[in-house]
């Protein structure tokens, strides 16, 4: 339905209103956590995030007491 059409200015503006990762690539994120942030979240919203689990960041800890390393 939408294939082969150029992405419009409105669409570009919409896509830019979301953090699609570019700013995070430039951040100290990878240096601090040793992995790229997951799809939407940073290290704590995706329970499937294996890099985070392997880094001991998120899984199984109480968010009320959680501190990032």
């Amino acid at each position: 339905m939408v294939k082969n059409l150029e992405v419009t200015a409105k669409e570009k503006s919409f896509l830019e209103s979301m953090d699609l990762g570019k700013s995070r690539e430039a951040s100290e994120y990878k240096e601090k956590y040793g992995c790229d942030p997951c799809d939407a979240c940073g290290p704590d919203a995706c329970a499937d995030c294996k890099p985070c689990a392997e880094n001991g960041v998120s899984i199984g800890s109480n968010p009320f007491s959680r501190k990032y390393k």
Partner: protein
């Protein structure tokens, strides 16, 4: 860099074999205007094409009514999976025989959500059928044995808020991989007077108790922290700080951004819990997301900041559906938000 997901929740049918207290559908009659198989395939094509266009990952959750009562369900699942759309079913589990679970697995589906709303008596009262609990547990077992990862999901409200630990235990006993809850959205006619509604104080109590349960059961099951209000207590990290500085959407409620909810007749809402029609899926996903005035307003973070006086709108925004149900304004502060009750704990 992982890509973002473009997400549809599709109510495949209004038909259901239960009569749940918290259901979005007032009646369960045979759909007169249910999308045809051809129309469903067009929707899936659109999801795939739009995802490619925007460099996103296509994902769909198929719900109902009860999706196992939808005609051509297996053919639809097969079509979605062959088009590399991440596909999950949201079901009450009561019709999920071992043969049906195997057939679903064979289409490529590897994720399935089954609802449990409390211990047996609570669940059966909420679901209004005496067989609902036992059959749901059978469904969890059958899906797990077929090789499908089961997430048990609870709608949390006043009448079952004490039962979440029982649900966790049942999920573990029967082989589920994950368990979590979504908070109840009150009836818009009743608003905060809905007897099942939890205010901010109630919500904080529930979330604090759940934090302790996460620690208690973390070696046995993954307890999801996907309800949007968890964002209040998740500490900031560099990604969130940057999104906040740039006034960009990062996480939290996805209404207005990368999700749409499609009813069985093709009517589209920004979220299944926010019943404001913005068009029909036949109008196209790009058009609906980009041009709908409601969707555009939901993306107005400046307005939301002004209304909520909150600095976390880039990665939380509260639940827009609860705000709408209680205040009549989907841009208002989520009245269940307990951030102000945390004091210095979260600053």
């Amino acid at each position: 860099m992982a890509k973002r997901q473009l997400y549809l929740q599709w109510d495949s049918t209004n038909n259901c074999n239960l009569e749940c207290l918290h259901c979005y559908h007032p009646v369960h009659t045979k759909d007169k205007d249910q999308m045809s198989l051809a129309e469903v395939k067009e929707m899936l094509d659109d999801l795939k094409d739009t995802s490619e266009r925007w460099s996103m990952i296509p994902r769909i959750s198929i719900s109902g009514g009860e999706p196992l009562m939808r005609d051509n369900l297996l053919e639809i699942l097969d079509y979605a999976n062959k088009n590399e759309i991440i596909t999950a079913l949201l079901t009450n589990g009561t019709l999920l025989t071992s043969a049906k679970a195997k057939a679903i697995y064979d289409t490529g589906v590897r994720r399935l959500q089954i609802s449990l709303d409390g211990k047996k008596e609570t669940h059966n009262n909420i679901r209004n059928k005496s067989f609902a609990y036992d059959k749901a547990l059978e469904g969890i077992i059958n899906a797990s044995k077929a090789g499908i990862d089961v997430t048990v999901s609870m709608t949390l409200m006043q009448s079952n808020r004490e039962d979440f630990e029982d649900v966790i235990k049942a999920a573990i006993r029967n082989g589920a991989k994950k368990v979590g809850f979504k908070t109840y959205v009150p009836d818009k006619k009743l608003g905060a007077n809905d007897p099942e509604y939890m205010d901010a104080k109630d919500a904080l109590s529930v979330f604090e108790d759940t934090g302790k349960l996460i620690e208690k059961y973390s070696d046995k099951i993954t307890i999801l922290t996907s309800d949007v209000l968890w964002e209040i207590v998740k500490q900031d990290n560099p990604a969130k700080e940057i999104a906040r500085q740039q006034n960009k959407y990062l996480t939290g409620c996805s209404a207005g951004y990368r999700a749409l909810s499609v009813l069985s007749d093709g009517t589209v809402y920004p979220c299944r819990r926010l019943p404001i029609p913005i068009g029909n899926i036949k109008e196209g996903i790009v058009n609906l997301i980009i041009n709908s005035e409601v969707m555009q307003e939901l993306r107005d973070l400046d307005k939301m900041k002004k209304n909520t006086l909150c600095d976390k709108v880039s990665h939380c925004r509260g639940c827009r559906a609860v705000a709408y149900a209680v205040t009549g304004d989907y841009m208002a502060k989520d009245p269940m938000c307990f951030k102000h009750l945390l004091g210095e704990k979260n600053d």
